[in-house]
Symmetry: C2
């Protein structure tokens, strides 16, 4: 059994108004040293598979097909044996 932790973020070149709003709020709370705030999605799941390579393949396909929009978003994932 493996645990996969996926993060999906907007591509660097795409504006992130949600991130800007959060950043403004952080500044209002006094955290003025904060910049470059960006918001994304986090998805975690377990995969039952024989090898880490198979998990990698499955996770990559799932990210491409369902979890991210490849036109606008980038994804990364890490795999942990559990």
């Amino acid at each position: 059994m493996y645990k996969v932790k996926v993060t999906v973020t907007l591509r660097k070149t795409i504006l992130d108004p949600q991130g800007k709003t959060v950043e403004h709020s952080l500044h209002s709370l006094g955290y003025t040293g904060i910049s470059g705030t960006r918001i994304g999605k986090y998805i975690e799941f377990f995969i039952e598979a024989d090898s880490e390579d198979k998990v990698k393949l499955t996770a990559d396909e799932a990210c491409k097909k369902l979890l991210s929009n490849p036109v606008m978003e980038d994804y990364t994932f890490i795999i942990e044996k559990v």
Copy 2:
């Protein structure tokens, strides 16, 4: 300058219907080995500070006050020097 990567997830005891929906979709696509899917938020930002300890303190406060709902959500973050 430090980069902070925050993930906010629903507490384990709280149902995650969005996660369930994604899991059903993954099963429909043929990825039947997947279970325990949960969805959360991912937030990244940069902090200008003197030391990693200060960054840790600021990030922790920001998570508690703004980025997460401590009643329903857990948060974790990692700090990278950039």
